[in-house]
């Protein structure tokens, strides 16, 4: 195993632990937690067995394994940005509620 593989695996393991913890404390819903665990486990599989991406590439009809990873990463990033925007919107509404309650008190 290459050092980079070990490093990445360690990083993913920590990420999974964090997911569990955040689910336990109630910051992350069960579905969201499952999504992230799956996400990091798949990431781990790709790190251990990079050829997997080539099979995936064939499956999707994309040229190279590395390309598939980039595409998936981009999609993942979009998804995360979007979630962040929704989250921010929720926070804004909570702030408004606090401000309003104070105004009307």
């Amino acid at each position: 195993m290459l050092p980079i593989q070990i490093l990445l695996l360690a990083f993913f393991a920590i990420a999974i632990m964090k997911v569990f913890k955040r689910n336990y404390t109630g910051d992350l819903s069960l579905w969201a937690a499952l999504f992230w665990v799956l996400f990091w486990v798949l990431g781990g599989l790709v790190v251990i067995q990079p050829d997997l991406t080539s099979s995936l590439a064939k499956l999707f009809g994309v040229g190279r394994g590395a390309d598939v990873v980039v595409y998936l990463a981009l999609a993942g990033l979009f998804f995360m940005v979007f979630r962040l925007m929704v989250k921010i919107e929720k926070l804004e509404r909570e702030i408004t509620k606090v401000v309003r309650d104070k105004t009307l008190k």
């Binding site: 929704v86 919107e89 929720k90 509404r93 408004t96 401000v99 309003r100 105004t103 009307l104």
Partner: protein, 229 residues
């Protein structure tokens, strides 16, 4: 026909940094015999609240700026609490003509409506800037249609009147300008009886441009998902 004496007609004025105009707006309302007025000062950094208080109207102040939708909902919460019978949304930037209010109220009573939406496109009084008249508002109209199923002649007008029934049902959750679309959507959802009514909109300065319109679209789309994720 004037509103029944026993009815409390409350005017809600959302205002953000309108110290120069708010006084004129309030005096204009007084001239129409409207005495129940609440100014929601949305964290203004100028003397908006002081100017309004000087004229003896109720002032509710947000400690920080939360946007026009947020200010209107604060006004609505206050209106529900004091048991207002009719509520009017009226911009604090002196663009509306207070003389339109009595006319709109009698229209509402005659037609037995729950909601009246002001429209600047139903008569020829308003001198609307070209970009707004030809591009922004026509485009917004169709966007609103997609989101609400109502095709109003005026996509975004801060002049609205609500019956007590409508006041109790409609709750604004969009803090910024997308509340306009949200209100129309709820009117449709709750099967409230509504109609548009011609109102004058004067243009001293510009107000919302294309950027504002795109911002509303973004808010609407994000809003769709705040319940899902």
């Amino acid at each position: 026909m004037a509103p029944l004496v026993s009815d409390m007609v409350l005017v809600i004025i959302p205002a953000y940094n309108e110290e120069k105009k708010i006084g004129r707006v309030i005096r204009g309302l007084f001239e129409q015999g409207l005495e129940d007025i609440v100014v929601v000062d949305d964290g203004s950094t100028d003397q908006t609240a002081a100017q309004a208080r000087k004229l003896g109207v109720k002032v509710l102040r947000h400690e920080i700026n939360r946007g026009q939708g947020a200010a209107l909902e604060t006004g609505s919460a206050y209106a529900r609490r004091i048991g207002a019978d009719v509520v009017i949304h009226f911009d604090g930037d002196d663009q509306f003509n207070p003389e339109d209010i009595p006319k709109a109220i009698s229209f509402m009573e005659r037609k037995n409506l729950d909601v009246v939406f002001g429209s600047r496109f139903l008569d020829r009084r308003s001198q609307i800037p070209w970009l707004k008249r030809k591009i922004i508002l026509p485009f917004s109209r169709w966007i609103n249609f997609v989101f609400t199923g109502c095709l109003l002649s005026d996509a975004h007008n801060g002049f609205r009147i609500f019956s007590q029934k409508a006041l109790k049902m409609i709750h604004i959750t969009h803090d910024r300008m997308a509340h306009n679309t949200e209100i129309v959507r709820q009117v449709k959802k709750f099967h409230l009886r509504y109609e548009e009514f011609p109102v004058e909109v004067k243009y001293h300065t510009y107000g919302q441009g294309v950027g504002g319109g795109l911002m509303i679209l973004k808010d609407l789309i994000i809003g769709l998902f705040t319940r899902l994720i």
